[in-house]
Structures are given as C-alpha cells and as structure tokens.
C-alpha cells in the first residue's frame, strides 16, 4: 500500500487543465485501475472510455506520461511512481471530455474502404480450400483491436491534421488485410493512391512502436502497399501494357 499522485486532464475541447489526485495504490495495479479509483472516490464524473480491461477491446487508449498506451495494460510498477503520473487524452482526435476523444472519424474512414469480395467458392458446398500458410501473413493484421493509438501517434494526423487526405496506419493495415486475404478479389490500389494518401507515410515507424498488438505496421502493411501502388501506377512497362490491353479490348 502506497500513496501515488496522478495528474489527469480534466475539461472539454474549449477549457481544461491538469488536476492532481492522490490515491492509495496496491500491487499489480494498472493505470486504468487508478483512474477508476479516482472516479469512484474523488471525481464521479471523470470521463474515461473502457470496456474489457484485458487488452482485447482497444477502448482505453490515452497518453500516459506522454506515451500512447492502453491504460488497462500499463502497470504502475513500470512507471516512475516517485513523481506524478500524467494521464491525458489522445491528441489526434477532437476532445469530448477529460480522457475521452471523438474517434468517429475512424469509423467513417472504414466505411469508405471497399468491402471484402471473395472469389467463387472452391467446393460445391460453398467452402474454400485455404491453407495455414495462406493465412499466416494476414493473421497479423487481423489481430488489430482498433485502439487507434497508431492513428494518434502518426504525425500526418496528429501534427498536420490531414484526416481528409490520409486514412492513417490503422486503415493501411485494414487495406493490407483485405488485399492480402487469400480469397479477396477486390482492387483497392487506385483508391489508396488517389484518395487515401498512401504517399503521405514517410516510414518513421512511430505507429509500429506504439501498437499494443505488436503488429509490424510499417514494414508488413504500409511498405508492401506502397510497393504495390508504385508497381501499378508508375512502372513504365506495366503502364505500356495497360495501354496496349485497353486498346485491344473491345469497348
């Protein structure tokens, strides 16, 4: 049993500031436990978003001592507890109140990404033959819990606010999962180049560093997508072939 101080952001989009709360902490506590204790004992209306408290739903994203984290998976024993622990909301999204941000932009972005389109089934009963090695690559992307910490830390969104032009690392991973899905026949490369800003990412890998699911976002998702887009759009030979093919196809 020890006393610790937490410096928590309180306020809405217009006014606000940090407020210190001192509470008792116990063995094994995570940051979300501390927030809940503050909420129960000192600030009933402290706004925080959370669900599973087990690192599986991706709801309790915030910045702890300046680092984008899931509060439920950040243990106090891994933080310097001799000084106040700073807890503040994500910065890449509009603030609703206290630790809660408006992440609805992410949901709108996803709606605009072309849905999964499977090839014809392999068997008469409507099933496909898919081998483990066909799915292993995509499984990494499908681990994503949509915590949006990668979006929070991406400078294109966080600092340059290019939300209208760039879909961000989360949705690069989503597109990669669809493009590399063994059954998918959709083609999202042209949209990725023209409307979704694949070129904006300059591979600083900040997103990869903060991913709580350890998805190798930049190397395994974004770079291969960039390569596919480049191969398609800028390879002179491919371009020539496309022109020839187009001319050869009856209208």
């Amino acid at each position: 049993m020890a006393e610790s101080t937490f410096r928590v952001w309180r306020g809405d989009g217009e006014t606000g500031g940090f407020q210190d709360y001192t509470i008792e902490t116990t063995t094994g506590m995570v940051v979300l436990d501390a927030v809940h204790r503050i909420q129960a004992e000192q600030a009933n209306d402290l706004a925080v978003r959370w669900n599973c408290k087990a690192g599986r739903c991706g709801s309790c994203s915030a910045e702890v001592n300046g680092m984008p984290k899931l509060m439920c998976m950040t243990r106090l024993s891994d933080l310097p507890m001799d000084e106040p622990v700073t807890i503040e909301p994500m910065k890449a999204f509009p603030l609703v109140r206290d630790l809660v941000t408006d992440v609805s932009w992410n949901y709108r972005v996803k709606e605009n990404i072309a849905a999964f389109q499977p090839r014809e089934p392999d068997h008469e009963d409507g099933t496909w033959e898919i081998f483990q090695e066909d799915v292993d690559r995509v499984m990494e992307f499908r681990k994503c819990i949509e915590c949006f910490l990668c979006q929070d830390v991406c400078h294109v969104l966080r600092d340059h606010h290019l939300h209208e032009e760039f879909i961000g690392p989360r949705f690069m991973v989503h597109v990669a999962a669809l493009e590399m899905h063994p059954l998918d026949t959709g083609d999202r490369l042209e949209t990725l180049r023209k409307d979704q800003g694949v070129g904006y990412c300059n591979i600083t890998k900040c997103c990869t560093k903060v991913c709580p699911e350890s998805i190798t976002i930049t190397d395994n998702a974004i770079i291969p997508l960039k390569e596919r887009v480049v191969d398609r759009a800028y390879d002179p030979l491919a371009k020539l072939l496309r022109v020839v093919r187009r001319k050869g196809t009856p209208a």
Binding site: D45, V48, R49, V96, I145, D184
Partner: protein, 603 residues
C-alpha cells in the same frame, strides 16, 4: 416531443455484439430499415473477449461428429432443462453460420487439408470449436462489423437504451441517451431485438466488462416480458486471481483444451477425484489417457479438466475451502508441463494461446510456458434470460425479440464452452429474420408522449436528487452482496437475506445523486445502470430461492442433490400489475421421439 432526437426504423436492434450485429445484418438483408444501438463503440462489445472458439459440428477434424452429437452434448451439459427446439436448431444451423463467416472474410485456423480447424472443449465429444488462436471473438465481431457497415444500417454508437416504449401490449420503440452529449434519443420501431448480453457486473469478481449490467433482461422484464432460468449463472472455473487488480479476467478453457491440467497445492490433479455419473463413461481414467485425448487419439476419453464448467468451478472451490488452494486462493493451471511430451512446447503454447501468454506476462509477470497460472472461478455468463419462442426468438411481448446471452433456453442449467458464439450467430440471424418479417406484417405503432416524458424524468432523476449517496458505492455494495450470497454455493438463509438487502439497495439507488452535467458523465451512467443491475439481481436471487435442488450452475448447500421432479420444470419470472416480481414453475417441453432417440443413442 420536439426536444428529442427522433429516429424511425422497421427494426431496432439493441446491442452490437455478435447477436446484435448478426440480427441487424439479417434484418437489413430482408429489406427492413435497421437501427443498431450500441452501448460502446462499434466492435468493442463483449463478444470481442471470447477466446476459445465457436462450436459447430463441421466434422472437419473428426468425421464421427454430427449435429446429433452436438445436440446431445448440449442437452447433457444443460442437464436437460434446455429448450429442445433451440438446442436442435442450434446444432443443425451452426455449421452454416460458421461457413458464412468465412464468406464474409473471417479467417480461422486451418486443418492440414485446408479446412477450418477445430479444437477440443469441455463437454464436447469431439474437437468441435472453430477458432483463431485464442482471439476467436475478435475475429467474429470484426467480421460481422466490417460486413455489417456495408449493409445500409444506421449505427448509433455509445448510446444506451433506458426504457422500451409500448403501444398497448406491443413494443413501439425505445428511449435512450447518447453518452457523448447526454442528448435523449427516441426510437420508433415496428420490432425491437434485444441483444444486450449478460449480467456479470452484478458481481464483484467477473470476466465481464462494465456494459454487462443486464439491460436487455431488465428492459424486457419491465415491458412485460417473462424471464426464465435466472438461477443459472455460470461461474467460469478459470479466471485470474492475482494480482488483485486483474482478479476475474478470463483464462480461456482453450488452455485445458490444449492439455493444461489443474493441480492443488499438493501437486495433485484433483479433477480425477470427483467425476459425475453423467460423464463417467466419457472421462479418462488416467493422466496418460487424458493426454492421448489431447493429441487426438480417437480411442481415448476426455481428461477430467474438460468436464463442464459448473463442475470444474465447484471442484476448485472445494480444494480452496479444504486448505489445498494456491497462495492467493485459487488452483494451479499448468500448461507448461506439456514440455515433458513435446519438444517445441513453449513455441506451441505461444502459437495456440498467444493472448494468454501475453496477458500473464504483461499483467502478472508469469511466463505460462514455464510456470503454472493461479486461477479461480469468475462470474462469466447467465444461462437465464428473456423467455422466447425457439424458432422466432420473439418474447411474449409482440414485436419484442431477444437473442444471444440475454435470451434463455438454449443452455438450460449450464452452457458448454463454445456454444455461446454459435448461439449468437444462429439465433441472432433468426431474431433478425423474424423481426424483419414482423415489421413487414405490422404497421408502425404510435409513440405515447406520456411514456416518453416518464422515461425522461426517470433518466434525469439522479441530477435532481440532493442526497450524499454516490452511484459507485451502491454498485459496489450490490456486487459484494451478490458475490457473497448469490454465488457459486447457495443457501436459503443467505438468499433470503440477500433479497432483503436488495430491497434496501433499491431505496438507496432511488436516492443516488450525481454531480457534473450530462456530457460523458460516467457517474450518471452508473446511476442509470443500477436500475437494471438491481432488477436482474432480484431475479437471480428469487429464482435461486425457488429452485430447491442442485443442478448445473445452481448449487444449494441445503439441497445438495439433483431432484428429478425439479428436472421437469423451468422457473419463469414476470412483473405483475402491482409491479412485484412473481415466479412460477413452467413444465419443460417434452422432447419429440426422434430427439429422445438421439440422446439415447449418444449414451
């Protein structure tokens, strides 16, 4: 009603976990206009936490499996209190529902010949659970979410329904608030599907998230629907017990499916000490036979760790009570031991149970490939819920449907692991289909301004109170009460005094005062959730008092044996004209001969 945001839909689905999403997809496919209300952000519902897999007799791993075997397993697991028709539909339709997920983009672990892999689980005769490592729920909810958002439904995120609106006896819509701004939303609908999940937050130690406050159960009950089987609450045998802040977080049954064993402080595999008669013929005699089962020997029988959850939980409680527990009051769950049997055990464990590996490493400093975990029971699931028609999922309130955990019938006295995800798919689809049909056959009912005004007054009451009672204190006291007195092992005295205490808590809840304003105010939300929690707590307690026997998840110290007479009844609860909770014994529907024969053939 100008001051409210108004929405009109053919079908309103309340809850966006597996059942709600599946219902919404089906209703939209039938041409209905669909509103989908979720208490959290889309894709965060409790389904995301499901780990082990979805049960379906695909027969990909063992061709002896069939819907008939799955049906018989489900009935045996539920101690024959299940609604036979739901168990039949579930077993027959779940393979198609799983294959359909694949057509919508889900990717599950594969067999060597390129089909969906299936794993062993408690109470299932053959490897039956389609899965993705230990994150099956995430794969399922993301697949439904990503498919659903392209089907043209209106999604209302972070929106909580506090009242159903009625037109006479029929459902007419719902009253809700949005978390972000606290604005009131009035939904008019021809049909409403409740898919709100469970009631775990009525307990102190639970694997459930904050949302699980019994909303659908309570909404339906107050709208005149009947609840059934509320005495049957599943305490999952393996939750984390240490450190204190993670107590209750789920440790998947998949650990035992992959060969994990339970030991007490003396190192003894105590599950061999007590094997129920109903399962004697199906359970291994020796650790050696148990291991052969795990690695796929078709002649071997299941290790006793894979007995049903109710039984395993009670055995752990017994070991702790008799002084053979682990240091923090649980038992040891050991998967690391399989290193004796396989050379690449650590890599195998990390591949099959990546979430568990990460969870223990990050939260408890335990490397499960090297050391045992400490586990103990955690409130996990409620078998009871809204009483519905098996085929259509409609309650006794016309136009009001329920599916998934908030509906009763499929699981009887105890649910088998893996049968919840398949439940969501099978009956989510059916609820959506029949709700859309109901909507097409019935005109939009009028909304009663009086009911809307009353719902608003009810929602705003905590701001008007000037008492000192805070919402969190009442919630915590209720959780302690339910944990200690309506828990795994029950007695008449405890239950009777619990009922009195619940009445006292109701009075305290009515006086709860909240501070701040309506914008994203968790204190206010907790105050409103209390109503639902108190309703379902009362229901669980009354039903537990009523059933004077021990069966499945309901265990009475004063009536320790199964009573054949009680085996012929479900307990049904409803609200009478004076607002009191009433109960009656409802005969279990008699099985048709074809299903009796299946059960007999399966031994």
């Amino acid at each position: 009603m100008a001051e409210f945001e108004r929405h009109e839909h053919d079908v309103l689905v309340v809850g966006a976990g597996g059942a709600g999403l599946r219902a919404a997809i089906e209703a939209a496919a039938a041409g209905a206009s669909v509103g989908l209300v979720c208490k959290s952000l889309l894709g965060k519902a409790h389904t995301v936490m499901a780990e082990g897999g979805v049960a379906a007799a695909l027969s990909n791993v063992d061709e002896r499996d069939s819907w008939e075997v799955h049906f018989a397993d489900t009935m045996r697991g539920g101690q024959y209190l299940n609604d036979w028709r739901m168990a039949e539909l579930h077993a027959q339709e779940s393979p198609d529902r799983v294959r359909e997920l694949e057509a919508w983009g889900a990717l599950m672990d594969r067999t060597p010949d390129g089909r969906i892999l299936q794993r062993n689980f408690g109470g299932h005769a053959y490897p039956r659970l389609a899965h993705v490592g230990d994150r099956t729920g995430l794969e399922m909810i993301r697949t439904l979410q990503d498919h659903g958002i392209h089907q043209g439904m209106d999604v209302f995120m972070e929106c909580t329904v506090t009242r159903l609106l009625l037109d006479g006896d029929r459902v007419a819509g719902a009253f809700a608030y949005d978390r972000e701004r606290g604005r009131f939303q009035v939904f008019g609908a021809k049909a409403v599907v409740l898919a709100t999940g469970g009631i775990g937050k009525a307990y102190q130690i639970t694997s459930n998230s904050w949302e699980y406050t019994g909303d659908g159960h309570a909404l339906a009950y107050h709208a005149g629907a009947e609840l059934m089987d509320m005495e049957f609450i599943q305490f999952h045998p393996t939750g984390m017990v240490w450190p204190p802040s993670v107590r209750g977080i789920l440790v998947t049954e998949g650990v035992r499916g992959e060969g994990g064993v339970l030991r007490n402080s003396e190192g003894r595999r105590f599950m061999f000490d007590d094997i129920p008669d109903l399962y004697k013929d199906q359970t291994a005699d020796s650790p050696e036979e148990g291991w052969r089962y795990v690695i796929g020997d078709r002649d071997a029988r299941r290790p006793p760790e894979l007995l049903t959850r109710d039984h395993v939980a009670r055995c752990i409680v017994r070991e702790v009570k008799e002084g053979r527990g682990s240091p923090h009051g649980g038992a040891f769950l050991d998967i690391a031991w399989i290193a004796e049997k396989m050379s690449d055990a650590p890599a195998h464990i990390r591949r099959k149970l990546p979430g568990m590996y990460h969870q223990f490493k990050a939260l408890a400093d335990i490397d499960i490939t090297k050391e045992p975990m400490e586990v103990g029971p955690t409130t996990h699931y409620v078998m009871g819920g809204v009483r519905v028609d098996a085929d259509t999922q409609m309650s006794n309130v016309p136009g009001l449907f329920a599916a998934g955990e908030c509906a009763a019938g499929l699981h009887g006295a105890n649910r088998l692991g893996g049968n919840s995800l398949s439940d969501l798919l099978v009956f989510g689809k059916r609820a959506g289909e029949y709700a859309a049909r109901f909507a097409s056959e019935n005109a939009a009912p009028p909304l009663d301004p009086e009911q809307v005004a009353a719902a608003e007054r009810h929602s705003l009451a905590p701001f008007a109170n000037d008492g000192v009672e805070g919402p969190y204190q009442v919630q915590e006291d209720l959780q302690k009460l339910m944990q200690n007195q309506v828990g795994i092992v029950r007695t008449e005295d405890d239950l009777a005094s619990a009922l009195e205490d619940i009445e006292a808590l109701k009075e305290r809840a009515a006086n709860v005062a909240v501070t701040g304003n309506r914008e994203y105010n968790p204190g206010w939300h907790t105050a409103l959730d209390l109503d639902c929690l108190l309703t379902v707590s009362e229901a669980a307690t009354r039903a537990a008092i009523g059933r004077r026997e021990s069966r499945g998840a309901h265990s009475r110290v004063d009536y320790p044996a199964k009573d054949p007479d009680w085996g012929r009844y479900n307990l049904v609860l409803w609200k009478d004209a004076d607002g009191n909770m009433k109960s009656r014994r409802e005969p279990v529907r008699k099985l048709p001969g074809r299903l009796t024969r299946i059960i007999e053939e399966q031994g």
